[in-house]
Amino acid sequence: MSDEPRALLKLDGFEGPMDLLLDLARGQRVDLARISILDLVEQYLAVVDQALRVRLELAADWLVMAAWLAWLKSRLLAPAPEGAAEPEAVEVAEALAARLDALEHVQRAARWLGARPQLGQEVFPRGCPEDLVEMDRSGLAADLPQLVRAYMAAVRRGSSGQAYVPPSPRLWTVAEATARLTRMLGGPLGRTLGAGWVALERFLPHVAGDPAQRRAALASTLLAGLELARSGHADLRQDAPFGPVLVRSVLVQGGQDGP
């Protein structure tokens, strides 16, 4: 009974039934080519049996191996009659021994590899490699076929029906500013203001973000204000240099009080 915990403990450390078999074979302390398969089978079945007594669940592959080994044991003890369809038990045992031999080789190879100085473990490469390559980007990757294809693509797009119109930035003209200023001073805004002074900026049209368009609108509106002042339709005033320019309607004062 004292064997039980040890057997279970061992089972957990194995990478599967073959690993256990190989360990048991090594325990026989003989050349792998000369191990007693029968002894090995007995030992494996004993370990699995002990493991099952302690805990019921055991991965299927352990049980499959146990069943197969039990079959092998029975055949080794009582060979099938000559000419039976089943493979010779001795041949099966030899195949098992060969598999154990292959596994033994792999485990030794793994240990051999593991014992070598490994890069990044025991030996290290240059930590900050130096780049001795320089890219020369001066050349141009372009050939005649590309040029011709580009020309064809350009011409096709150019003649694809949409007439090309060079875009001209929409700038607020003096005429437009004059019309707007006149209309607004005479309209509801002008009437609300009466004879009061209003900052000229309030008559600017709504212009989207473009600073050039904003400057153009400001300049046009100022010129429009000067034009109206010259013709006597409005008064302009600026109380300080760079201060706000104020405008006042003369039309309203002149008594044109709406319809």
Binding site: F124, P125, R126, G127, C128, E130, L132, V133, E134, M135, D136, R137, G139, L140, A141, A142, D143, L144, Q146, L147, V148, A150, Y151, M152, A153, A154, V155, R157, G158, S159, S160, Q162, Y164, P166, P167
Partner: protein, 173 residues
């Protein structure tokens, strides 16, 4: 353990320059890190690789006189962006052409960046001005353009008519 061997390996394997203080931490307490570093530096003096002191520590570097000999120049030709290639092709076939004319053929505006790219590559050059209002610059291709595309002269360009077959109206099925 020979301190010089240790310092050699430490500086070699580090991804960053190694400060003398970090060297000292690895060496036994009674060993002078600076002295060891100077000794290693002397050992590598005149070799293909040298131990140098940079701002934040010590580092191996290719000897300055060897580096140019090992420098490998790899040609990585640039590609022209599509817009530049098209503008170049239009100039090639329609030269001398104004910027507005190039835009009209392509059916798209021509950005200053595209013009700059062609100018910088030396593929186009000004060829006087058109005597119309605004006197716009006329553009033409250069000798470098011919060389780039393996042409002896502009007459070697494939004929326009051979390129552009009149588009047939698609038959209605």
């Amino acid at each position: 353990m020979d301190p010089e061997r240790l310092v050699e390996a430490l500086v070699f394997a580090s991804a960053e320059p190694v400060p003398a203080a970090a060297v000292a931490r690895v060496l036994p307490g009674d060993v002078d890190a600076d002295a060891v570093l100077v000794a290693v530096q002397a050992r590598y003096a005149g070799r293909g690789v040298e131990l140098v002191q940079v701002a934040d520590g010590w580092q191996f570097r290719t000897a300055p006189d060897v580096a140019p000999l090992l420098l490998q120049v790899v040609p990585r030709p640039r590609r022209l962006p599509r817009a530049a290639m098209e503008a170049l092709a239009v100039v090639a076939y329609h030269q001398p052409a104004t910027r507005t004319e190039i835009e009209a053929v392509r059916g798209a505006t021509l950005s200053q960046a595209t013009m700059d790219a062609l100018l910088e590559a030396g593929l186009i050059e000004p060829k006087g001005r058109r005597e119309t209002p605004g006197r716009p610059t006329l553009w033409g291709t250069t000798d470098a353009f011919l060389a780039q595309f393996g042409l002896r002269s502009l007459r070697d360009l494939p004929r326009r008519d051979d390129l552009l077959v009149e588009r047939q109206p698609t038959p209605l099925v």
